[in-house]
Symmetry: C2
Subunit: 202 residues, 2 copies
């Protein structure tokens, strides 16, 4: 088994934190996104989308998409549960994972992709859309601050994959100057708590 990783990118970090919370160690290989190694023909035999991370199983099966890789390890290493504990809870956790991904993580990433010099010439950039996404993300930070007023974690009483997605999305916002505001005390409290877990450094 091997995990294709990129230290500086936000999606691979989601899987590294997930694995650290589970106490699982997987051999990893760094793929250089600066030189576009992930877009090479060789790498695209593993993932035609050219995205990271990718998990390669011993039988040669390759699993792309951070949440799909997390799903694999949730199934094979159920403890501690990070994607819910029963049918209802798994649906609730998935709802929060998706909300955070679609409303926070993706807008943060799109604010970066559509504006930053790194993506110039790599994708068609639309700066005006990047600004729309920046504003959207900032509004969702404020919403998440309200959500966290009466609960310790994003999906409720327990740390889950939704917290991992939120942490990676929010931290990635810094490069686009999207930050937790001083008045967002619940979000700041949560951010300090999840950042203090050893997994945050994975």
């Amino acid at each position: 088994m091997k995990l294709y990783d990129a230290r500086t990118a936000p999606n691979p970090r989601r899987v590294r934190i997930f694995l650290a919370e589970k106490g699982i160690e997987v051999p990893t290989e760094q793929v250089d996104i600066v030189s576009a190694q992930n877009r090479s023909l060789e790498f695209r035999t593993k993932n035609p989308m050219g995205t990271l991370p990718v998990l390669e199983l011993d039988d040669g099966t390759t699993i792309a998409e951070s949440v799909a890789i997390c799903r694999y390890f949730e199934e094979t290493h159920p403890d501690p549960p990070l994607m819910g504990t029963d049918a209802k809870d798994r649906a609730v956790v998935e709802m929060w994972q998706r909300r955070i991904e679609l409303e926070v993580f993706v807008p943060v990433a799109q604010a970066f992709r559509n504006v930053h010099a790194f993506f110039k010439g790599r994708i068609p950039q639309v700066a005006e859309y990047g600004e729309v996404c920046r504003t959207h993300a900032q509004q969702r930070f404020a919403w998440l601050d309200e959500v966290l007023a009466d609960r310790p974690f994003v999906a409720g009483e327990r740390y889950t994959i939704a917290d991992i997605t939120a942490l990676c999305g929010i931290d990635f916002g810094r490069v686009s100057d999207i930050r937790i505001l001083p008045e967002q005390v619940n979000l700041a409290r949560w951010h300090a708590a999840v950042s203090a877990r050893p997994s945050a450094k994975a």
Copy 2:
């Protein structure tokens, strides 16, 4: 239990097809998106994001996000499996579900949202980004045509949630004139097959 539905929107259709494939009947209530009933304060007590569909359980729990609702029914009604059959297969199906959502469904939806008059004044529209998404979606139709050259369904030998996401995304493309091209014979064969299933009319 009650499903809040909107007949003309693509995300609720994903859940209706999923339920039809499982043979599950759930009482539904239509929410009028044209008059923005889904944005009302009352509806947002059920889902603060204001999106549809939403599943309300008998204990009052509300589950938003189409895939989270599908997850609930996959757990409570495992047969036929639509989200994978074991750890590896569940990860593979989730990978394909996400690829299709992020590479086909979302670009198709964004092409609509950023250009169509329906969203004028409802969201900040960026027409140039809508065109980027239209082109992206068309490229991904071509990629999906290649994927389907050697398999009957998106994730392999079995009909899964990835086919449902693909069908709803591709059909929703028509309103933005994003269509399967005559040379995309594999995609057309697949589309005819999944459209012929009774669930497609749900």
